[in-house]
């Protein structure tokens, strides 16, 4: 009967060794930080499995061997008070095991801690500001903002400053690094280093309201030269709507949207920066980039992302105007 739970575990383990989605799962780390975290996980689970096996063996033995059998109703076992030697053993060995765990833990904690980059150090600095329910990324030394899709160079430590403009959120890119909370009125720091190029999934990891589950973002790690090319294009971005419809869309944008959304350095910062919107992997962090969805977003953002702060435009803009906007927005590409 006891073997039922064991076989359930085995089954689950078998079934779940999928390990998860590439570029999202913690179990296939692609960054320096996530590798350190992973190593610590493996160390701790190895030690714990030793403990589990010891306990499981004694447990299984005891409940089988000392089960009262038929006809033994009146046997009164020896009333053992205890055993000091055993108490010492099962105190000392766990202390030893935990010491083996504690020392690397402290070392890894300090390794992962962020130090303010020195004056002469050439470090890319990115300022992350979390909002309900989107992410703003500012590159202060490069002179531009972007949102939702975070570009970083591969193979170097990028230094992050994190804060929030409203509630507490948490900045998490499982493949690359452990998370760091973004606290309103305060600044946190961390560094991230991606080891290989790719598009990594980011998540908000602190309950921040109804759309907490939908506050995804992407991290695009590029080789250094590609990153610098991208950064250059971002700095010098100019919207260039080509078609008539897109140009009409640009006019509508300037009348209705620019107070909240900046493009190429012009506009408000109440909503996400839209400079490279056309190249975004997703809409609003998690939605497929189709014309229908972009139009739906503009008309009724809450229908896609409950309780988000963008007003609905379905009563202010006609369908044609919205379509023009969509054209314009899709044309916003830096390359």
């Amino acid at each position: 009967m006891r073997f039922i739970p064991a076989s359930v575990f085995a089954l689950l383990l078998f079934v779940l060794t999928g390990c998860g989605e590439e570029n999202l799962t913690v179990l296939r780390p692609k960054g320096t930080g996530s590798n350190i975290s992973f190593d610590m996980m493996m160390l701790s689970i190895s030690i714990m499995i030793i403990v589990f096996i010891v306990v499981a063996v004694i447990y299984t033995y005891v409940i089988i061997k000392y089960r009262k059998r038929r006809g033994e109703e009146d046997i009164i076992p020896e009333q053992v008070e205890g055993n000091s030697t055993l108490e010492i053993i099962w105190t000392a060995i766990p202390i030893l095991l935990l010491t083996i765990l504690a020392i690397p833990t402290v070392l890894a904690t300090f390794t992962l801690a962020a130090e303010e980059p020195k004056e002469d150090e050439e470090v890319l600095k990115i300022q992350v500001t979390a909002y309900q329910y989107w992410w703003d990324f500012n590159y202060p030394d490069l002179g531009f903002n972007t949102a939702q899709d975070l570009y970083i160079p591969v193979g170097e430590k990028v230094y992050f400053e994190l804060t929030s403009k409203d509630v507490i959120h948490s900045f998490w890119i499982p493949s690359l690094s452990g998370k760091m909370d973004t606290n309103p009125g305060l600044k946190n720091t961390m560094w991230i280093e991606a080891k290989e190029p790719g598009v990594y999934k980011g998540k908000c990891a602190e309950l921040c309201g109804p759309s907490h589950a939908l506050m995804d973002f992407k991290v695009i790690a590029l080789e250094k030269d590609e990153f610098e090319a991208w950064a250059n294009k971002m700095k010098n971005a100019q919207p260039k709507p080509k078609t008539e419809v897109a140009k009409a869309g640009e006019e509508i944008f300037k009348q209705n949207c620019i107070s909240c959304h900046a493009v190429a350095g012009e506009g408000g910062n109440i909503g996400p920066n839209l400079t490279d919107f056309g190249n975004r992997k997703t809409l609003a962090g998690f939605i497929d980039m189709t014309d229908e969805k972009i139009a739906q977003w503009i008309k009724d953002p809450q229908s896609l992302k409950p309780a988000n702060n963008m007003p609905a435009f379905k009563d202010q803009l006609s369908d044609e105007e919205v379509d023009a906007l969509v054209e314009y927005l899709k044309s916003l590409k830096v390359n």
Binding site: P5, F9, Y66, T105, L112, P184, K203, G209
Partner: protein
């Protein structure tokens, strides 16, 4: 002529039905009321869990809205911890601890009643939010400023005020048990002869005494920011949101030890009883309990590893957290060695107790894994943590509760619970529990954060969530079987036999049904497992420590119900901006305190002729 005369009145009039229950100060009845209320809230919170799992059964499902989902997760956690688990433990403590120490009631019977009614009204107040504009929706942890400036409905006002009122009740219960256990043990019962359940009640009460006041302050700060415009958590006015986190977790971590220590105590009663052996390493167990409680106050910031406290703080709290594994491990081994060499029987109570060990162990393992700050940077706020705490709370506290319920049912309700239904309950619940929570470890590791009302397709999270939901339905079925068991067993006429489990402690040495005064004569305690000692010497009952005499009993009172009601009315006044009800309610509450102080209450006496059964000096019933 004298102001303080003994009231040699005849036995007080037997109060009838509802009025008896409303005015009782009898610890046994209060225990039953805590238990029934706790069980009710357990079912409410369980339903909330089922709704959560239905929503998460499929990706991008829309069974409930995002807002409703956030309310469900908040209320599920809040209700389970504050209104189900703790009250059920209080129910067992109330019903059993005075009997275990050979006392006739707790030190403060009136306060005991007041504590219960405050808990109940606070819990009702909190749940009223469902019907009055929406339940709280910021998680049971209510981080600011989501819980202060960014939560529009009154839900969080009900949260702060309802739990505040309940919390006062909890504090009263804690003080009550501390004084009872120190001052009212039967002759011969030194501290090191107390049953383990009493020990864990004692240590838990100390935890409550020191952990709940910070929470009280936290709720006041929350209330002041929400209702009175203070700036504790308003960054623009100099406030600091991290202060809430510190205050909450300085309470929150000891709270989880408040939830597990009573279960440890129950295990230390059930396992020895059904193995027919005394508890192995009693002194070590007592010491380990105290050490766990002490260390429990030193580790709160392991809930804040990603808050940005810095590597020094994170390292200290990592290592401190790891140390708690040591006394906990000591306990597990001592239970195993209690069973070693025993004659183990497996009624349902012992099924839950024995299943506790591997289940809680897994939870403890993931606890040590979580204590590693660099690893926690990944685990924090993901389903890995959800898996961990459900493993320890369900596999620990809830299994302990079920073990205690099946064990002490005859003591509390004079009947036995049905064993066949009990086994169905156990297996459905046990299998469901592992199915629900084991996959969650992986979901967290695969990138699924907590408190998400849905998850996206194509992220490989579908299978784990599906299995988890199925498991939750099994647990629901198991709970239904348990409810049926209660109904079926209570409908039977058969009264349980005296000492049905061949118990070891003096709470089993009392006749069933339990007399209102517990002990006709206070027992003489000759050692640990005092009843067992008597039985090994050929006695069926305890040796009395005093001659038969009139027994002094406390009077009942309706004031506790009224006071709890008035405080709730005041709370509603604050929530809905009615100065009249807010101040009026408070004033009336204080007036009741004055009444309690100025009205003399000397109790009454049960005459020795009325005591039954009559016990002669030989100590045989």
């Amino acid at each position: 002529m004298a102001t303080h005369t003994e009231k040699l009145a005849l036995s007080h009039k037997q109060r009838s039905g509802l009025w008896d229950w409303l005015t009782t100060v009898d610890h046994k009845k209060i225990g039953i009321m805590y238990f029934v209320a706790g069980l009710f809230f357990f079912i409410v919170a369980g339903l909330e869990a089922i709704l959560i799992r239905i929503q998460l059964m499929f990706p991008e499902f829309d069974f409930v809205s995002a807002q409703t989902f956030n309310e469900l997760v908040t209320m599920h956690g809040t209700t389970m911890l504050f209104l189900a688990a703790m009250p059920i433990f209080f129910g067992l403590m109330n019903a059993i601890v005075p009997l275990q120490i050979g006392a006739r009631d707790v030190a403060f019977p009136f306060l005991n009643s007041l504590g219960f009614w405050l808990f109940l009204f606070g819990g009702i107040l909190l749940n009223l939010s469902w019907f009055l504009g929406g339940a709280p929706d910021a998680g049971w942890t209510a981080y600011a400023p989501l819980s202060t400036e960014y939560s529009a409905s009154h839900g969080l006002d009900f949260y702060a005020l309802g739990l505040q009122i309940s919390g006062f009740g909890t504090l009263m219960a804690g003080i009550n048990f501390l004084v009872t256990i120190i001052n009212m043990r039967a002759p011969g019962m030194s501290f090191m002869r107390m049953p383990m359940f009493t020990w864990t009640t004692f240590v838990t009460s100390a935890l409550i005494l020191f952990a709940f006041p910070p929470l009280t302050i936290g709720f006041f700060l929350l209330m002041f920011d929400r209702l009175f415009g203070s700036n504790f958590f308003v960054a623009d006015a100099g406030g600091n949101v991290i202060i809430w986190e510190h205050i909450f977790w300085i309470f929150g971590h000891p709270e989880v030890y408040i939830l597990i220590l009573p279960a440890f105590g129950i295990l230390s009663e059930v396992i020895p009883t059904f193995a027919k052996k005394r508890l192995f390493g009693y002194s070590a167990m007592v010491f380990a309990t105290a050490l766990i409680a002490f260390l429990g106050f030193m580790v709160w910031a392991h809930h804040m590893f990603t808050t940005g406290l810095g590597p020094i703080a994170n390292s200290i709290f990592s290592v401190a957290t790891m140390t708690i594994a040591i006394p906990t491990g000591v306990k597990i081994f001592n239970w195993l060695f209690t069973m070693w060499g025993g004659q183990i029987r497996f009624p349902t109570a012992n099924l839950f107790a024995v299943a506790f060990i591997p289940s809680f162990l897994i939870g403890g393992m993931t606890g040590v894994m979580l204590s590693v700050a660099p690893a926690d940077y990944q685990y924090h706020d993901t389903y890995f943590v959800v898996a961990h705490f459900h493993y320890v709370i369900l596999g620990g506290s809830v299994f302990g509760i079920f073990a205690g319920i099946y064990f002490w049912w005859p003591r509390m309700f004079n009947k036995m619970l049905n064993e066949t239904l009990g086994k169905w309950h156990f297996w459905l619940f046990f299998i469901g529990y592992h199915l629900t929570f084991f996959p969650m470890h992986f979901l967290g590791l695969m990138g699924m954060p907590r408190r998400v009302f849905t998850f996206l397709e194509g992220q490989q999270l579908e299978l784990g969530n599906f299995i988890s939901s199925i498991g939750s339905y099994l647990m629901g079925l198991g709970t239904i079987v348990f409810a049926i068991n209660i109904v079926v067993s209570m409908a039977k006429k058969e009264v349980a036999a005296y000492d049905p489990w061949d118990g070891r402690t003096i709470d089993w040495a009392i006749p069933i049904p339990t007399p209102s005064y517990n002990f006709a004569q206070l027992p003489l305690v000759k050692g640990l497992d005092a009843f067992w000692i008597e039985k090994m010497n050929g006695n069926k009952t305890m040796t009395p420590a005093e001659p038969l005499d009139d027994i002094h009993m406390p009077n009942g009172s309706i004031l506790p119900v009224i006071m709890a009601l008035l405080l709730s009315v005041a709370a509603l006044g604050f929530i809905y901006d009615s100065l009249f009800f807010a101040i009026g309610g408070l004033a009336a509450f204080f007036f009741c305190m004055i009444l309690r102080s100025v009205i003399d209450d000397h109790g009454y006496y049960i005459k020795k002729e009325e005591l039954a059964p009559v016990v002669d000096k030989g100590g045989k019933a």
